[in-house]
């Protein structure tokens, strides 16, 4: 999977799809204040999928909620297509919600068991006011994730874990987003199913030109799917750059430790 050479941050005329500028995030006040992000700077460019790698407590979930505009930074700025994202402006928020979609870790808890697959896939089409023939779109979405249109009448409980994650991914594709933000999208799955979901995400990149933002503890999955990598440790970026550079020639001691700790099969 070789990505088409995309313009790098310095040379592009297009603003980044998403960016964090000098972002700080503090929870609580006064003596109890706990700062979990210290001056985070990162950019997501079209066609350059970004992996944000860190362990427990690194600040991954906080970055995720900022990138999805589910919370606001204590200082600094979140930008969408070059302009600050403020939650008050409804039309721009709708554009943002269509363009940037979130894939959750565990499809067991992210799909409503009482809704049919058809209802699950129609919901974002309706709530985000996506024009067009919704019935045809549902069939198209199921095919895009390797399922069949006849599955639309069934309920999440009738599917395996891997199929449910495909349904969850189909739902995120409904409004034709440009960016999928994925929160450990494969770690709740068995290894053989995990490999298939990784394959599916790679295919969405190639065929739909999707840009991924993967927030993960799993450095191998980021190595497989992302062109750019950020290593997060204790709320700070300790290293960032093209994935191949970061993973094959890590400069920061923490990155080196993290890479050395990944168990590998012999041979």
């Amino acid at each position: 999977m070789t990505a088409t050479p995309a313009p790098t941050a310095g040379t592009t005329s297009q603003p980044p799809l998403l960016a964090l500028r000098e972002v700080h995030r503090t929870y609580g006040h006064g003596a109890r204040a706990n700062t979990v992000l210290h001056g985070i700077d990162l950019e997501v460019h079209a066609g350059r999928s970004l992996g944000i790698v860190g362990e427990s407590g690194a600040g991954k979930s906080t970055i995720l909620s900022l990138l999805m505009a589910l919370s606001s930074p204590s200082a600094g700025q979140v930008e969408f297509r070059g302009a600050p994202l403020r939650r008050a402006r409804a039309s721009r928020m709708r554009e943002f919600r269509r363009s940037v979609q979130l894939v959750f870790q565990d499809p067991r808890s992210s799909l409503d068991p009482r809704m049919s697959v058809d209802q699950i896939l129609r919901e974002p089409l309706e709530s985000l006011v996506v024009p067009g023939d919704h019935r045809a779109r549902v069939a198209e979405l199921l095919e895009a994730v390797g399922l069949t249109p006849d599955m639309a009448a069934r309920y999440p409980g009738e599917f395996s874990g891997g199929q449910r994650q495909r349904i969850a991914i189909a739902r995120t594709l409904a409004p034709s987003p440009q960016v999928l933000v994925a929160d450990e999208p494969a770690s709740a799955l068995d290894v053989s199913v995990r490999a298939q979901i990784i394959e599916l995400l790679a295919q969405l990149k190639d065929e739909l030109g999707m840009t991924l933002v993967m927030v993960s503890h799993d450095i191998a999955i980021v190595g497989r799917l992302c062109e750019e990598t950020v290593i997060l440790h204790d709320g700070r970026i300790v290293e960032q750059g093209p994935t191949l550079d970061v993973l094959t020639a890590p400069k920061d001691p923490y990155t080196q430790k993290l890479l050395a700790a990944v168990p590998q099969l012999p041979g």
């Binding site: 362990e55 497989r224 993290l258 168990p263």
Partner: protein, 257 residues
């Protein structure tokens, strides 16, 4: 060995042996029956299930023994550690009292002698600041420290066999690395026989000498880890190894250029 639930088989014809001091890895995905196998060895199957066939420890039959007889084996001759130490540790008891628990139950050690053994165990699992750790409650410790405490408890009575069921699955990768290194050193020092249950092939590859691959309640392949991980013969083991390679391989310069 087999396991039945309401007359229906859950596990069929599961056979393996570990030599004294050996290291066996039980590998499988969800629903393979790997954890049930471990629970059967400990006589801890869920309500409504029962094991058939034979389970022997040092040649003695364990199946069909009463609860009393099993209790003399469990914790003393066969000890265990689980995935999430927080559920295995009592939240209302200090770590010091918990580690001393199995000593009180299974050994004549009391008072200062028991205290010495507890400190020895903390040293064995490389827990520093022993005074503070002993006074702490489980929730005051980090995930890695808790798993070390669980290991110390498991090894308290110098068991012959240690069953570890996904002991590092809940941990971050750098902590996992530390615990696996520790486990390795502990096995070297104590000579305990290891049965390591996991879904994670690269993790098992680090600790096990022999592997049993399970799927849907049956054994699909057994053999030395070095052989099985490089040239598996069964279709399923081959697909498992291929998938594991695909999801854990890190990129290299040569590959991309």
């Amino acid at each position: 060995m087999g396991i039945e639930e309401a007359g229906r088989p859950r596990l069929e014809d599961v056979s393996w042996e570990v030599p004294t001091g050996g290291r066996l890895g039980l590998i499988g995905e969800s629903g393979s029956g790997k954890s049930l196998t471990a629970q059967a060895v400990l006589g801890l199957l869920p309500e409504g299930m029962h094991a058939t066939g034979s389970i022997t420890l040092d040649g003695e039959e364990l199946l069909g023994r009463g609860e009393r007889a099993l209790r003399a084996v469990r914790g003393r001759r066969i000890a265990m550690v689980f995935q999430e130490p927080l559920t295995a540790l009592d939240p209302l008891m200090t770590v010091g009292r918990q580690i001393a628990g199995p000593l009180r139950l299974h050994t004549p050690l009391r008072g200062a002698a028991a205290q010495r053994r507890v400190l020895e165990l903390l040293e064995l699992v490389a827990l520093r600041e022993s005074e503070r750790i002993l006074r702490s409650y489980p929730w005051e410790l980090s995930g890695g420290q808790r798993q070390r405490v669980a290991l110390a408890m498991a090894l308290a009575c110098e068991p012959e066999v240690l069953i570890a069921d996904e002991p590092t699955t809940a941990l971050d990768v750098t902590l996992q690395d530390e615990i696996l290194t520790l486990l390795d050193a502990m096995i070297e020092r104590t000579g305990v026989t290891l049965v390591f249950v996991s879904h994670d092939l690269p993790v098992v590859a680090r600790v096990a000498e022999d592997l049993v691959v399970m799927r849907k309640g049956k054994v699909v392949e057994t053999g030395p880890a070095a052989r099985l991980l490089t040239s598996p013969t069964s279709v399923y083991a081959r697909s498992l190894v291929t998938a594991a390679r695909a999801v854990t391989a890190l990129p290299t310069r040569e590959e991309k250029r």
